[in-house]
């Protein structure tokens, strides 16, 4: 510090105040600091600090009185700077506090004295004043802010101004509670639909949050949240008493939106999550179960009526609260299981397999729609849906059969007016159902039977549709599952080739006799029933023998056996009035009809003897020819519905038909009859045995030693894609394997099995 200039009019009162300390520097005197400098102490006028502070205090007062435009920033800053530089920082700082405090006290007086509505306005305008003044003061005292304050660990000017405001205005007992209640009242007003001055609210709340998070929380946020909780508790109670579920949710949604809106308009953004949480808790969480189970309008009702809009709302709202979705999902699942169970056990529905499967598909569609439209394709909901379907579809042991029948129906009826794409869609849906099945091997069994019938009857609409379905099954269950099905297709194909070959070699020497079409079916691929071959008419026998010798000539080492129960025949018949018809009949029927070439009247016994058709089949085939109206090419004595042993048959000369071709179907139950069902079941069980054994051996080969429980669980796991293995059955298989010395029990621990290689 140069003191060289103290001889320069130092405290020249008549000049401007700002020059109290320094005179203007004169450069020529600069060189003088040397030795004289220390003769006079560096300490200046002891009153310097006070005097300068007077100037600054005056300036601060002016600033608070809006007279700042008469002040010189440069001068004030310089004075403040010099004060701090010459260690009067303390004076300056304490002076600042007391001056500001006095101004704030005056302000708070003004604010307290306002009445009613004006309170907030006054508070706001005073706050704006203070804030503006504070910024100016901070700028003037910038040097102090930068040097004195950090080194003395004081509060910076701006923060000081804020905390003084809090202390002297906001936390004044006359103001604090009044402010709080006013704000809460205004918000309440707005909630009840009145218009409030949002701009003012915004300013006041901005002020509180500027004063620090603590002030904002204590003076506004916490009471605000409490009041909101109270408000919504009452409101939600009122709503729930008088509203339907959908309506209530709409209201809750609107309230939620209002609160978010409010936050964006005049609250601190950090409050958003908190207030939203309050609304969620009061309006949704507390009434969750009641809402869902509301009579006539709850979730179940929405599901039944396909109220996508309401469902979406409930989904979105419940998403906000813990366990919200779980609640919805549980209700949906239990409802689904309930209705599904009713469906699959409904005896009415069970009468028509196609109808039954169609119902399942419709149900699935409905819920898929709901999940995609309202539940935003939520994975957990999809899983819930799947598990519910899996649960009730398997409640009915006949589901595999029905699904296969449904497919059969679709394929038979064919794509009459239905495009291939639509068929694909249906099949995709069927595959969904198929996935739910536990006993996939049962399905396979039925499917094979139905496919065989379609193939042999040449009825399949399109090879493409058949093959695409097989392909789907293949992708679903693997090669093994469909290899036999594919074998069936190949058989049909090769058979055509074989027949062409047969006729090109033997065509000439066959003459006018009957035409033969043989389909050679590989044993094992087809669901053949071991059947007694019937006696074919003599006209055919020679032809058949020729084919047999032709076929065995090409393929040596094969064995052919005739499956007469699966064939068909086209017969040309002349009736009484010279009417000619072509009759499409089964092989059995053909055999029977051929007998009438040699006789007019034959008894049942005679037919049975001549043809050696099993009596059950024979009865069916006679029934179809004698008892069905429009197809009755035979007459029966006596004319009763059922075929008796003593019945006599003769050709119905009066047979007429509009068509030249007449197809005579066998009376055959589409659905399996009880004994057949048992039989299929037995065969399925029989087929499962080697599969279970194979699985056991595979596992044991890898593990060498394993205990009983683990084997059971691993086998069940391995076989799951095909069927659910029964533990007791697995146990039986294990025992059988032990007998055959594939496995042995451990000598010490009976529960352990060892693999014997």
């Amino acid at each position: 510090m140069s003191s060289s200039n103290n001889n320069n009019n130092k405290y020249c009162e008549e000049e401007e105040e700002e020059d109290i300390f320094y005179g203007r520097r004169n450069n020529k005197k600069k060189r003088m600091f040397e030795i004289e400098a220390f003769k006079h102490k560096v300490v200046v006028d002891p009153k310097y600090g006070d005097k300068t502070w007077m100037i600054l205090e005056h300036a601060i007062n002016q600033i608070y009185n809006h007279n700042a435009s008469h002040l010189s920033f440069e001068q004030l800053y310089r004075n403040a700077y010099n004060m701090v530089l010459h260690k009067f920082g303390e004076t300056l700082y304490t002076g600042l506090i007391s001056t500001m405090t006095s101004h704030l006290t005056a302000m708070s007086q003004c604010i307290e004295n306002t009445h009613g509505e004006m309170f907030l306005e006054e508070l706001n305008s005073k706050w704006t004043d203070h804030n503006k003044a504070l910024h100016m003061i901070r700028d003037i005292l910038m040097y102090m802010d930068r040097t004195y304050i950090p080194s003395n660990r004081k509060t910076p000017v701006h923060e000081l101004g804020l905390s003084l405001w809090t202390e002297n205005v906001i936390h004044l007992s006359g103001i604090q509670t009044r402010l709080r209640t006013t704000l809460l009242q205004l918000i309440h007003k707005e909630r009840t639909g009145q218009v409030v001055n949002r701009g003012l609210m915004k300013n006041i709340i901005k002020m509180l949050s500027d004063l620090g998070p603590l002030v904002y929380q204590v003076d506004f946020e916490i009471p605000f949240l409490e009041a909101s909780g109270e408000f919504y508790k009452v409101e939600s109670q009122n709503f729930i008493e008088c509203c339907e579920c959908g309506e209530y949710l709409q209201k809750a949604d609107r309230r939620l939106q209002e609160e978010i809106d409010r936050v964006s308009h005049y609250l601190d953004t950090k409050s958003e999550s908190k207030i939203v949480h309050v609304v969620e808790k009061e309006m949704i969480e507390n009434h969750m179960t009641r809402l869902v189970h509301m009579e006539n309008s709850g979730l179940v009702k929405m599901l039944v009526d396909d109220k996508y809009e309401d469902l979406r709302r409930i989904y979105n709202l419940f998403h906000r609260v813990p366990n919200g979705h779980v609640t919805i999902r549980d209700v949906m699942t239990s409802y689904l299981r309930e209705t599904g169970k009713q469906l699959v056990t409904d005896p009415e529905k069970l009468k028509d397999p196609v109808e039954f499967v169609q119902c399942l598909l419709d149900k699935k569609d409905k819920y898929d729609e709901i999940i995609s439209l309202s539940f935003s394709n939520d994975k957990t909901f999809q899983n819930a849906l799947n598990s519910s379907f899996e649960y009730f579809i398997n409640l009915n042991p006949r589901s595999p059969e029905y699904i296969s029948l449904f497919v059969d129906d679709k394929l038979r009826k064919g794509s009459k007016g239905v495009s291939e794409d639509d068929v694909e869609v249906v099949f995709d849906k069927v595959m969904m159902l198929f996935r739910y099945l536990h006993e996939k091997d049962v399905f396979e069994k039925y499917y094979k039977q139905h496919l065989a019938k379609r193939l042999l009857a040449g009825k399949d609409v399109s090879d493409d549709a058949e093959r695409s379905l097989v392909l789907k099954l293949k992708t679903e269950c693997g090669y093994q599952f469909t290899s036999k099905l594919e074998g069936m297709f190949t058989d049909i194909k090769t058979s055509q080739d074989t027949m062409e070959g047969f006729y090109s070699t033997h065509g000439t020497d066959l003459g006018d006799g009957p035409t033969l079409a043989v389909q050679v079916l590989t044993t094992g691929s087809w669901p053949t029933q071991s059947c007694v071959a019937c006696n074919l008419p003599t006209e055919l026998l020679s032809l058949c023998d020729k084919f047999r010798s032709y076929y065995l000539g090409i393929h040596s080492g094969r064995k052919l056996s005739w499956q007469t129960n699966m064939g068909t025949a086209d017969l040309k018949a002349n009736f009484g009035k010279g009417q000619k018809h072509e009759l499409t009949v089964s092989t059995y029927q053909m055999c029977v009809l051929m007998l009438f070439n040699n006789a007019d009247q034959i008894t049942y016994k005679e037919i049975e003897q001549a043809t050696e058709i099993p009596s059950l089949d024979l009865k069916r085939c006679l029934q179809s020819m004698a008892c069905v109206k429009g197809k009755n090419v035979l007459k029966k004595e006596p004319m009763s519905k059922d075929i008796e042993e003593e019945d006599v048959f003769l050709v119905n000369d009066k047979f007429t038909s509009k068509f030249y071709k007449v197809k005579i179907g066998t009376v055959v139950a589409q659905k399996e009859s009880e004994p057949e069902k048992v039989e299929t079941r037995q065969r399925v069980d029989e087929d499962r045995k080697p599969q279970i054994e194979a699985a056991i051996v595979r596992i044991m080969k890898a593990r060498k030693v394993l205990d009983h429980n683990n084997i059971i669980s691993e086998v069940a796991k391995q076989l799951q894609p095909r069927f659910l293995a029964n533990p007791s059955e697995i146990k039986k298989r294990i025992e059988s394997l032990i007998e055959r010395e594939f496995l042995e029990r451990d000598a010490s621990d009976r529960k352990l099995y060892k693999y014997l290689a």
């Binding site: 510090m1 140069s2 700002e18 020059d19 320094y22 203007r24 520097r25 450069n27 600069k30 060189r31 600091f33 040397e34 030795i35 400098a37 220390f38 003769k39 102490k41 560096v42 300490v43 700042a68 435009s69 008469h70 002040l71 010189s72 920033f73 440069e74 001068q75 800053y77 310089r78 700077y81 530089l85 010459h86 100016m136 700028d139 910038m142 040097y143 930068r146 040097t147 080194s151 003395n152 953004t269």
Partner: protein
């Protein structure tokens, strides 16, 4: 250098390397005549320091395409690596040189060091640093930077439009394909002759300038503007050809040459990245030090300053209070682009708001407060620029000060001026200026009489010039008796606050790191005692006795001083 040292000492804490790592155990080859590459490879710190101080370009490549840092990393000279990094060597990832250095690092310690420096703000001079902050202070620019960094975050600040505290309002906005960049005319004019001409002619009154040419790419232009402010270019390799074109238009020739050369280099460059990187990630970083001196930021602003100074009017100290400024001069003056006048003493300086504001918080506040206070309203008649008056300051000192503000350097400081400069530096919150003045002053102090040294001690304590204060205390402590015999010293003792008797305040470990920080407001005599103890005192137990001894001695001296005073 001491100042530098202190920073690095504290920095070591957070990069998790012990100081011992830097004490190199290996033999150091000395390469007294080697270039920077040899010195880096050898780890010859002495030579390297010398070279760096002589102002070589630390990021230059040798004939093998390698930079000095690469050799230092390869050889594992941790201290050399640090030295180079502190002097602005580039080690950023995804740059050709940076990746090579990371890749070549001998061990994890070197890599750690590189990482630590990479995470730091770029080493810029105070001027470039301040201007960079000013540029990024413009909200629009910062949001762009964030976009570039991949964190798109348009927060509510943009919508409220409140200028962030660090910014000074820009006076021109460029829109390139609709994306804005805010800038200050002065800076752009100083850096590019083309832009200067444009601002004087076509764009004279325009606040917004829109470009929609296909060829002008936003990232390249942004990088260039950023470079104008900070003297540091950071650009994706993909944008470099665009940049070269822009440079050509803007007539930034030396930059254009470097960029073009680099474009060809990048074509064949083999990146040694630790991870795979695609082309768009590659960056190129250029420090101002790679450019010829006259094309760097300080030189550009110095030219600007010289023009302004030439235009500044020295008022004749005549009695008439109305300054005589002829109207005809107004138009002539436009070429300096000044937008504010500062009246100091008798002279009116034509200055640039953006530079004053970015260098000094005082000026920033002052300029933005022109509305609220009296200033700015009583501008001089016939004069369309606002005029601010600074008192208690000589125009010579002010001229020096703005010289520093514009150029970051001080030429020939008169020791007599030093005091006033200290005053100005602290008053205008230009703390780096204090250091610069102190550096200029130190050589002078070596041959001043003890009496004057006491004066400097008082001064440096008052203005918080640590370097000088420390120096004086050292001298006094080591020559205590000489000073005790000086009358000025004794007189000074009387003016100082007494030393604290509390021994707990004393540091028992002399010169602990961070001790200097406390001295800002510390008691001079306490510090002097510490220094004295360091020089004179014995160990542990004896130390306390010596303390008492010293205090006694001081008391005695003060008594003498009092007697002397009363005798007068």
């Amino acid at each position: 250098m001491t100042d530098n040292l202190r920073i690095t000492m504290t920095d070591l804490d957070d990069i998790d390397l012990s100081p011992a790592d830097f004490l190199h155990p290996l033999f150091k080859k000395k390469v007294p005549h080697g270039d920077v590459f040899e010195a880096s490879r050898a780890g010859d710190i002495t030579r390297l320091t010398y070279l760096l101080e002589s102002g070589i370009n630390v990021n230059a490549r040798d004939q093998w395409d390698s930079v000095a840092l690469y050799y230092a990393c390869l050889a594992g000279h941790l201290d050399a690596v640090k030295l180079l990094l502190e002097n602005g060597a580039i080690c950023s990832e995804h740059t050709f040189d940076g990746d090579r250095c990371h890749y070549a690092a001998l061990n994890l310690k070197v890599r750690k060091l590189l990482k630590a420096f990479e995470a730091r703000p770029p080493p810029l001079g105070p001027l470039a640093g301040d201007l960079r902050e000013m540029f990024l202070g413009c909200l629009v620019n910062r949001s762009c930077l964030e976009l570039v960094d991949g964190e798109s975050q348009f927060t509510g600040d943009v919508s409220t439009g409140a200028p962030s505290p660090g910014s000074f309002p820009p006076d021109v906005t460029f829109y390139i394909h609709g994306r804005p960049i805010e800038a200050h005319r002065v800076i752009l004019s100083a850096r590019s002759p083309y832009l200067k001409k444009k601002f004087q002619t076509d764009w004279k009154t325009r606040k917004e300038i829109k470009f929609s040419k296909e060829k002008l790419s936003y990232p390249a232009f942004y990088s260039l503007i950023h470079f104008f402010y900070s003297d540091r270019l950071e650009i994706a390799v993909d944008d470099m050809e665009d940049l070269a074109r822009i440079c050509k238009v803007c007539k930034c020739e030396s930059l254009q040459r470097i960029i073009e050369k680099e474009v060809t280099h990048q074509k064949y460059a083999d990146y040694k990245s630790l991870q795979d990187l695609d082309n768009s990630q590659r960056r190129y970083i250029l420090q101002g030090s790679s450019l010829p001196e006259e094309d760097r930021l300080p030189a550009a602003l110095s030219r600007l300053l010289n023009v302004s100074l030439d235009n500044s009017i020295k008022e004749e100290k005549c009695d008439d209070t109305v300054p005589r400024i002829e109207g005809l001069k107004l138009s002539e003056f436009e070429d300096d682009l000044a937008d504010v006048c500062i009246k100091v003493d008798d002279k009116i300086f034509r200055c640039h708001q953006v530079i004053l504001a970015s260098r000094s918080e005082y000026f920033k506040t002052r300029l933005s407060r022109m509305e609220d206070f009296r200033e700015g309203k009583d501008g001089l008649p016939d004069y369309n620029l606002p005029v601010l008056e600074e008192r208690d300051l000589s125009m010579e000192a002010f001229e020096k000060m703005i010289e520093y503000m514009y150029t970051d350097s001080l030429k020939d400081i008169d020791p007599d001026q030093a005091e006033e400069m200290f005053d100005a530096a602290s008053r205008y919150l230009l703390f780096p200026l204090k250091r610069a003045v102190a550096d200029a002053l130190l050589p002078h102090l070596e041959n001043v009489p003890p009496s004057e040294l006491c004066h400097w001690l008082i001064l440096s304590d008052l203005y918080g010039v640590l370097k000088i204060r420390e120096y004086c205390l050292d001298i006094i402590a080591s020559n205590f008796e000489t000073f005790a015999d000086t009358r000025e010293f004794r007189t000074m003792l009387l003016t100082l606050p007494p030393p604290s008797g509390d021994s707990s305040l004393r540091t028992t470990i002399p010169n602990a790191p961070g001790a200097e920080m406390k001295m800002t407001e510390g008691n001079i005599l306490d510090d002097l005692r510490e220094k004295w103890l360091e020089v004179e005192a014995g160990e542990l137990d004896k130390r306390d006795e010596d303390v008492l001894l010293f205090d006694k001695r001081l008391e005695m001296l003060m008594l003498v001083a009092e007697k002397e005073q009363s005798a007068e």
